[in-house]
């Protein structure tokens, strides 16, 4: 060792031995000297090391080829550099970056080797960890990334972020820009929420802000969910998940639904549709190219509103797109062409459904029913706001409503021709139909459905009532048959009487047929009154003849009269004078309130519910009945519909049904927040059903307002039920039960 005992070396070793891992060996690799740092890291004592082979710290992980290379290098007199994993005394390891140099005497002969090492264990561990994490990140479907207080995206993120966000590289970019590049509102909400979140120290408040950040976004054809987590270093971790494929199927169904809505609205608002479409065509031709941006924005916005009313969704979306581009100054000719194309596709769909002529403007000026409806609804709004002058306004409203009424006499007049035609076809000799009544008796348009069905009464009279000429002569009757239709007002009822001078009804034949159809039995029929027997002729499938022709015998005719009569809350009485004649007396309430929109909708929603279950969810309905007992300890999703009447709709579905419904629309834009909670899903279903039912009544739905869904339990609903008229419908399906509770609120509620 005397060779290295010169002052300089000793001095340096004293100075740096603590810090530098240093060792010297002889030419065979036997340790001759170790620094303090070497002793410390190896966990051996100096005595244990000196005189031992350098192999004492060799780690089994290191391939022998490395040491072979090392020895070849240094024994040939050169310096070797490399990274080596070493073994500690107690089996742990450490990594070093080593430089091994030959040590020579004055003659230049190699007498040993000196090694200087630097501890790189931490670095090695970090690299390993990083690789492991990156491997995980690159092989998972979800997008993971983190960003800091300055909204800068950190270096480590999962590969899939790039696909979801449609980017090549996102490290060091601004997270808000990357996530919401085209959506100013979302970006603003996101930035505001995150800033507040970074500012507050309260974990609870942080959680609140997290829950309010955007959780779903659509960009570049990809729909993804966003979940947030605050990391210990206060950075935020984002989890992005692509849900485009999951939603495609659902959105297709949604799209079809929207198209249906469009057709319904356009059919019922024809005039408005024609006018709007014409003016938009002009707009596309001239204004779109020539108008300055500000005016163009305003016009587009107005059009968007108008098209929304007609539910022309494709055009609306396209206008919305061009609006966004206008805002960002990125609007181009392609966007304008696209708008025109989409619009023409919508028009094409309309004319495909309704025929080419549907959208051609007419030159005659008519007061359309829907114009009266507009006036009506505006009046309704006035009445809602008005406090002092309500009675006067109601009077005007009534007058406006009566504009839609029609003369009953005119409605019946069409039958003059029908009667003449049938008589001619059947070779019966009869006088022209005589209609007696005031032309001033006006009835609502609904009445028409009933008066149309009267054709069956007339044809019955002609075919079965009025005898052939020979028979009439034989019985000394007037050779000509006669049918008279009389109507008048009596105690707020319309009394409509249709009589003939034919042979009347053979009640024995009616009884025989009724027994045949299982409408009654031989025993029961003995107890029936004459009138009850006669009423059998209004039953379904009741036909007195065997041959079926254009005018008679299908057996559905009189049943349809009865059906329409019931729609008007009317009743019928039959006066049968055998061989002299037959008369029907219809009694129909005159002042039936036809404006009970909400109540009418209440009836429709039941049909819509059945359709939804059966057609959309393919669920079989076993049984439907009304009941009085509300379920206890259950929560009903409730929506209030306000119109002339206020109606509460409450809905309860069994878990299995809810699950079915969830499958149907869980990927809908808002459904992501439903949490699958039973009440929320039922509320959403109810919303959809009401949404489908309300537009069915175009003349009134401007006046109708749907409230926000609320969860009410049975105790609250019971109090409502006690004070109001209510109807609880129970439906049994193959996947559990459904309950629909309809409560008509008194105005005082």
């Amino acid at each position: 060792m005397h060779n290295i005992t010169n002052f300089d070396v000793d001095f340096l070793l004293d100075l740096y031995g603590d810090n530098v891992i240093l060792s010297m060996t002889d030419t065979k690799g036997i340790i001759k000297y170790v620094s303090d740092a070497y002793v410390e890291i190896s966990e051996y004592s100096r005595d244990e090391l000196i005189g031992k082979s350098q192999n004492i710290v060799r780690h089994p992980d290191m391939p022998s080829s490395i040491f072979k290379e090392l020895w070849q290098t240094i024994s040939s007199g050169k310096t070797w550099k490399g990274e080596i994993k070493n073994l500690k005394k107690y089996k742990d390891f450490y990594w070093v970056k080593a430089t091994v140099t030959p040590h020579r005497d004055e003659n230049g002969t190699i007498i040993g080797y000196a090694s200087v090492r630097q501890d790189i264990t931490d670095k090695k561990k970090a690299i390993l960890l990083h690789t492991q994490i990156q491997n995980i990140l690159n092989n998972i479907e979800d997008g993971f990334l983190t960003f800091d207080k300055n909204f800068t995206i950190q270096e480590s993120y999962s590969k899939n972020c790039l696909n979801i966000l449609h980017q090549n590289n996102i490290a060091k970019k601004n997270i808000a820009e990357v996530l919401f590049e085209n959506d100013k509102d979302q970006k603003e909400t996101f930035l505001f929420g995150c800033e507040q979140l970074f500012q507050t120290d309260s974990l609870d408040t942080k959680e609140i802000y997290l829950s309010l950040l955007p959780h779903k976004h659509y960009n570049n054809g990809i729909l993804f969910t966003i979940n947030y987590k605050i990391l210990p270093d206060n950075n935020i971790l984002l989890l992005l998940r692509d849900i485009t494929n999951q939603t495609e199927l659902e959105s297709e169904i949604k799209y079809k639904q929207k198209m249906q809505n469009m057709f319904i609205t356009i059919a019922t608002h024809k005039e408005e549709a024609i006018e709007l479409i014409q003016s938009f065509k002009h707009f596309l031709q001239d204004d779109l190219k020539n108008l300055e941006t500000d005016k163009l924005k305003m016009k587009l916005h107005t059009f968007k509103g108008l098209f929304s009313q007609l539910e022309m969704v494709n055009t609306i979306d396209s206008i919305h797109e061009i609006e966004t581009h206008l805002k960002n100054n990125t609007q181009t000719k392609e966007h304008r062409i696209n708008l025109a194309n989409v619009f023409h596709q919508d028009i094409q769909m309309i004319t495909d459904s309704f025929g080419e002529l549907f959208l051609s403007p007419t030159s005659t000026i008519k007061v359309e029913l829907n114009q009266i409806d507009t006036i009506e609804s505006e009046l309704q709004i006035l009445i809602d706001k008005e406090k002092d002058n309500k009675p006067k306004l109601f009077e005007i409203l009534e007058a406006v409503r009566h504009l839609k009424d029609q003369s009953l006499l005119n409605m019946l007049k069409v039958h003059e021709i029908t009667v003449a035609n049938i008589a001619k076809a059947k070779n019966k000799n009869i006088y022209p139909l005589e209609i007696i009544g005031s032309k001033d008796i006006l009835v609502s348009a609904e009445f028409k459905n009933f008066t149309k069905t009267l054709v069956h009464i007339f044809s019955n009279s002609i075919i079965h009532g009025i005898e052939d000429l020979e028979i009439r002569k034989k019985y000394n009757k007037n050779t000509k048959g006669k049918i008279v239709c009389k109507f008048k007002l009596h105690e707020n009822n319309i009394i409509l009487n249709i009589s003939d001078n034919g042979q009347g009804i053979d009640t024995d034949k009616v009884i025989k047929k009724a027994i045949e159809l299982d409408l009654t039995t031989k025993e029961k029929v003995l107890k029936l009154k004459n009138q009850e027997i006669l009423q059998f002729i209004f039953s379904n499938d009741f036909s007195m003849v065997n041959n079926i022709d254009e005018f008679s015998g299908r057996g559905i005719g009189l049943a349809s009269v009865k059906y329409e009569l019931l729609q008007l809350d009317g009743s019928v009485y039959i006066q049968n004078d055998r061989f002299k004649g037959l008369s029907y007396q219809f009694t129909i309430p005159y002042k039936k309130d036809v404006h009970n929109d909400a109540i009418v909708i209440a009836n429709t929603i039941l049909i819509k519910t059945k359709k939804f279950l059966y057609d959309d969810l393919s669920i079989k309905i076993h049984n439907t009945f009304t009941t009085e007992n509300i379920n206890t300890n259950k929560y009903y999703s409730t929506i209030q519909l306000s119109g002339v009447n206020n109606v509460l709709f409450s809905f309860l579905m069994d878990e299995q049904l809810v699950e079915k419904a969830v499958q149907y629309f869980i990927h809908d834009k808002d459904a992501i927040n439903l949490n699958k909670l039973q009440e929320n899903v039922t509320a959403e279903v109810l919303n959809i059903l009401l949404g489908l039912s309300v537009p069915q009544f175009p003349q009134s739905y401007r006046q109708l307002k749907l409230g926000t869904p609320t969860i009410l339990d049975n105790t609250i609903l019971e109090t409502f039920m006690q004070n109001n008229q209510s109807n609880l419908i129970h439906m049994e399906t193959e996947f559990g039960n459904l309950e629909l509770l309809i409560i008509v609120l008194n105005n005082t509620n």
Binding site: L212, P214, L648, N673, T708
Partner: protein, 124 residues
């Protein structure tokens, strides 16, 4: 038992919140249908909790739920106000939270949601 002030322009929401709160063992000390009323009621009763609809029609210059919230926070910086909100009002809610609201409930309001918020605010 907490004394609660309900502020909402929709009666059905007020009724249902009242009933649930009573079922949860709390006392509805007052109701208000707009921001102005809310502030008067707050001054009079100093309730333990205010449930406030975030978007109410503008009356007498009191713009909406947030305006009323700010005024209540001025009267009592420790006031507990919870906003009642609908889908799509996230930005408004954030503003309310930054102005001192202690939380929010998303409509439809249910007993569970009310219980959760009461638990969070240590009022149950």
């Amino acid at each position: 038992m907490a004394n609660i002030l309900i502020v909402d322009d929709a009666e059905i929401i007020r009724i249902s919140i009242s009933r649930y709160m009573e079922q949860l063992g709390h006392n509805i000390i007052a109701n208000a249908t707009n921001g102005d009323e809310a502030i008067l009621q707050y001054k009079e009763y100093s309730p333990d909790l205010v449930l406030m609809d975030i978007s109410m029609p503008e009356i007498n210059g009191v713009k909406d739920g947030i305006d009323s919230l700010c005024k209540i926070m001025k009267i009592n910086p420790l006031a507990k106000v919870v906003m009642v909100t609908s889908q799509g009002e996230q930005r408004l809610v954030m503003e309310a939270i930054s102005k001192g609201a202690k939380g929010y409930i998303l409509k439809p309001v249910s007993k569970e949601k009310l219980k959760n918020i009461l638990d969070k605010l240590d009022l149950s």
